[in-house]
């Protein structure tokens, strides 16, 4: 007899259910990306997800593990998330490289699902950013902004994706623009004030909120991400701790410094809606594997992410601070789990036996 311990009843939750909920929650964001970049977004999404699944399958096969793990949804989710943080202008080989990196070095080498110390999608994104800084900071003009731009038909998109900008008889200058964060960074460096810079950029908070600004595929629409995120929180797939503490910290830091010197420090709303913050707060930082387990640990994690995001965005060389912040806090996760523990019933807070 094999001894079986109580409980003899189960709630019915499963890994697959969790992963597919997150995927479903990301569908609005993916749809916005298609609205912004048309066929190009479709190519990127399918390539990322397809290559991720294929890599996962091959890794599992080569390591002699059960290959049905491919369908637990985690590889697909990694692929989807990776696609959503990539700029639309990246060439096909970079997409494949990133997907393979995310699955192999980000996850499978560490022993597969549940053991990766870093968020695989973000790890791949960081590697790409450091290795190919130019391509990773080139943002295409979204479809709705320039109707005359002949970029987003099926054939041109395909050509652009595989052969580059020359194949579609365009120049980089014509098809690209700066993202709000990058633009602000450059202008601030030249001594322009925040409000002037935003005005020049024709920045609109409403547009940023519903997602009409240039940026990575899925980062654009705060609205779509919020919808997905709140649905996940209502479903208990993710807890409120990380998103709330993360966003609140960024908002508090930004408002504080914005009050001190509004010419140099961007307003909180700008920070909240710009770049990958929403995506990171709801879908990257909440990756269960690489974030702390306890509620209070998650709050600490979120606050840490928030501070680092604001600091790197404001002072660092990379205007996109959110993903660095999350990867940096991923490193601290084991320590947070060790030192920040919930209060045990009948004991005082703190570590004692």
């Amino acid at each position: 007899m094999i001894f079986l311990s109580s409980p003899h009843q189960h709630g019915g939750n499963s890994i697959q259910l969790t992963m597919f909920s997150v995927i479903i929650a990301l569908i609005p964001a993916a749809m916005v990306s298609v609205y912004l970049y048309g066929w190009l977004a479709v190519f990127l999404l399918t390539t990322c997800i397809g290559v991720s699944l294929l890599t996962e399958y091959l890794s599992l096969k080569w390591m002699g593990k059960k290959t049905d793990r491919v369908w637990d949804g985690s590889a697909g989710l990694t692929g989807l998330l990776l696609a959503l943080v990539l700029p639309a202008a990246v060439p096909w080989w970079m997409v494949i490289f990133a997907s393979v990196f995310a699955i192999v070095l980000g996850k499978q080498l560490y022993g597969g699902l549940g053991h990766n110390p870093f968020n695989p999608a973000l790890a791949a994104r960081v590697v790409l950013l450091i290795s190919f800084p130019l391509q990773m900071t080139t943002w295409l003009v979204p479809m709705h902004m320039d109707a005359s731009l002949d970029m987003y038909s099926f054939m041109t998109s395909l050509k652009f994706f595989f052969l580059g900008v020359d194949a579609v008889q365009q120049t980089w200058d014509a098809v690209t623009m700066a993202s709000p964060l990058g633009y602000l960074k450059t202008e601030l460096g030249q001594g322009v004030t925040v409000s002037e810079a935003l005005q020049q950029y024709h920045y609109s908070t409403l547009h940023a909120f519903i997602g009409r600004e240039a940026g990575s595929l899925g980062e654009g629409s705060a609205l779509a991400l919020l919808m997905g995120g709140i649905w996940l929180m209502a479903r208990h797939t993710i807890s409120w701790h990380i998103p709330l503490s993360y966003l609140a910290t960024v908002a508090v830091m930004a408002s504080l410094f914005n009050v001190i010197n509004p010419d140099v420090y961007a307003p909180p709303m700008f920070h909240l809606l710009a770049g990958g913050l929403m995506l990171c707060a709801f879908f990257m930082a909440t990756d269960p594997v690489s974030s702390p387990s306890s509620g209070i640990g998650k709050v600490v994690f979120g606050v840490g992410c928030g501070v680092l995001t604001w600091v790197i965005r404001t002072f660092g060389a990379y205007p996109e601070g959110a993903m660095f912040a999350v990867v940096l806090m991923n490193m601290a996760t084991p320590l947070i789990d060790y030192y920040v523990r919930p209060r045990v019933y009948g004991r005082k807070r703190g570590r004692q036996s």
Binding site: M1, F3, L4, S5, S6, P7, H8, Q9, H10, G11, N13, S14, I15, L17, T18, G111, G112, L113, G114, H115, A234, H236, S239, W240, P288, V289, S291, P292, S293, S294, G295, K298, D337, R341, P342, R343, V344, Y345, G346, R347, R351, S353
Partner: protein
């Protein structure tokens, strides 16, 4: 409105002040036997009474094989302080005293007293009823509760008399009656409250008197509103609604756990390593309260209890009044179970109950439910373990505030010191963590494994220490013996030498004297 607000609180997992931390809500309670009236179980052909049915020291049989015993007669007397006697459930003959499997996950046995009933059901009347309990001394009440063999009937079977103390340092202010019954399937306490409200409340009154407490609280979950009505009405009839309050709590598991109930009712926490007594609270199950009433007012020791017999493999589930010592096999047959193939028997509820390896096990004081489940249903909960995705759901539902995923990982890697550092021994094994785990990790099993290993390591350490002392004593003894021997040898040698010397001297003297003697001869 209240319900709606509560749902919001639960879905946002914000605990209100008056609630315990963590916990889960069972979507399907499976309370199929709710409002089934209590039926008496038939007399079986054999009773088996294990000599230990409570937490603490085992009893010692005081009857002989072949002896005739009466219902309620003490057949095993307590050994040590933390122990209560065992009584015969009916009149009959002791047929043997030997090991029998008891309801324990190990499937191991314990010395048990076998009684063959004679069908007469003659009662031993050595315990006098004390209907005027208010005039009885608290010490006598306590002794009575002990003699009646009462231990917590909620499942923990902690001897009840221990709790009934009047401590000057920690006076008990509040007595909480636990009518929560938060496990799915079980309904025995629910039905007991409906049918025996008067007895339960009288029992509470006895306990209040025994510990000189001023306030009683009967805690009931909001899925048993009919019981609340009955209890409230009875309280009003008995004129006790001043001192005793009915507290309706939202249904949540594991609210029936003593520590959790105290937190939910009073907002206080039992300090780690302490007892409810230390914060002036006594908590006991409604069944125990009824047993106290029986023991004091009727002079009946604990020989039967209410059990829910249910499960998806039971055709006629019921709440039954069962004599202790009845075989579970017999009980399930009474409820219409024909074939035991592909059926697993659970002793207790599905969340904390034990899976029994055989159904030939007697009902004991701690049996609050017997669930016969189809194997398929049971195995659905014991899905193959998948890697932990560290989602932290287990920590969110943990009523003890632990981090079950890390704890289990350390137990799995045999890092027990780390596990203890993560407060392994504060785990109450409620099973909420395993219930919500998306990876189907048997977390509670890992904790039990860890606790067992730690206990074993400590035992081994103690044994090694004792062995070292014995070995060192032996070495010292041997050294002493050796030294003594040396000493003796030395003394012997000295003596021998002395003797030799003396001899030599004597010889010399003799020689000398002979020489002296010879000299004159020479001279002559």
């Amino acid at each position: 409105m209240f319900e709606f607000w509560h749902k919001i609180q639960q879905s946002l997992s914000i605990g209100s002040v008056q609630s315990f931390t963590g916990g889960i809500v069972h979507r399907n309670q499976h309370k199929v036997t709710a409002s089934h009236p209590i039926v008496a179980c038939a007399l079986p052909e054999l009773f088996i009474h294990p000599i230990k049915q409570h937490i603490g020291d085992p009893c010692e049989p005081i009857v002989q094989v072949g002896e005739r015993v009466l219902k309620g007669q003490t057949i095993a007397k307590p050994q040590g302080y933390l122990s209560v006697p065992v009584h015969a459930s009916t009149s009959g003959t002791v047929t043997s005293i030997e090991e029998h499997t008891i309801p324990h996950p190990s499937g191991l046995g314990l010395i048990s007293i076998y009684i063959k009933p004679d069908g007469l059901d003659e009662v031993d009347e050595s315990l006098h009823p004390l209907p005027n309990y208010r005039s009885v001394d608290a010490v006598e009440l306590r002794e009575r509760v002990r003699q009646a063999g009462i231990a917590g009937l909620g499942g923990a079977v902690f001897p009840t008399f221990i709790k009934l103390v009047r401590d000057q340092k920690n006076p008990i202010e509040t007595v909480i009656l636990n009518g929560i019954e938060c496990e799915p399937w079980l309904t025995c306490d629910h039905q007991l409250m409906i049918e025996k409200a008067h007895e339960i409340i009288s029992g509470l009154d006895i306990i209040l008197h025994a510990v000189d407490a001023s306030k009683g609280i009967i805690a009931i979950e909001d899925n048993k509103l009919d019981a609340v009505k009955v209890i409230e009405k009875t309280l009003a009839d008995m004129g006790l609604n001043e001192s005793v309050e009915v507290r309706v709590l939202p249904t949540r598991y594991p609210q029936g756990g003593e520590k959790q109930l105290i937190q939910a009712v009073t907002g206080k926490e039992v300090p780690a390593g302490g007892l409810p007594l230390h914060i002036g609270i006594l908590s006991t199950n409604v069944g125990t309260s009824k047993a106290v009433y029986d023991a004091v007012c009727l002079g009946e020791p604990l020989t039967e209890r209410i059990i829910t017999v249910s499960g998806d493999a039971v055709p006629k589930p019921a709440n039954m009044s069962v004599r202790l010592g009845t075989s579970m096999h017999f009980l399930l047959k009474q409820c219409g179970v024909e074939s035991f193939d592909g059926i697993k028997v659970l002793h207790g509820g599905p969340m904390m109950g034990e899976l029994l390896s055989t159904d030939d096990v007697p009902v004991v004081k701690g049996s609050n439910g017997i669930l016969a489940m189809t194997q398929r249903n049971i195995m659905r909960a014991h899905h193959e373990e998948e890697p932990c995705i560290r989602c932290g759901d287990c920590g969110d539902v943990c009523p003890a505030g632990l981090m079950p995923n890390l704890l289990a990982a350390h137990c799995k890697e045999n890092q027990f010191e780390r596990a203890e550092d993560y407060n392994l021994f504060d785990c109450i094994e409620c099973g909420a963590c395993s219930f919500v785990c998306p990876s189907h990790i048997p977390l509670v099993h890992y904790f039990r494994y860890g606790k067992g290993q730690v206990a074993q390591i400590n035992r081994e350490k103690e044994f090694a220490e004792a062995s070292r002392v014995r070995s060192e004593k032996r070495d010292a003894r041997l050294a002493k013996e050796l030294a003594e021997k040396e000493e003796k040898r030395r003394i012997a040698k000295e003596k021998k030498e002395a003797r030799a010397k003396a001899l030599a001297e004597k010889e010399a003297a003799e020689q000398a004297s002979s020489e002296v003697a010879a000299k004159p001869e020479e001279d002559t």
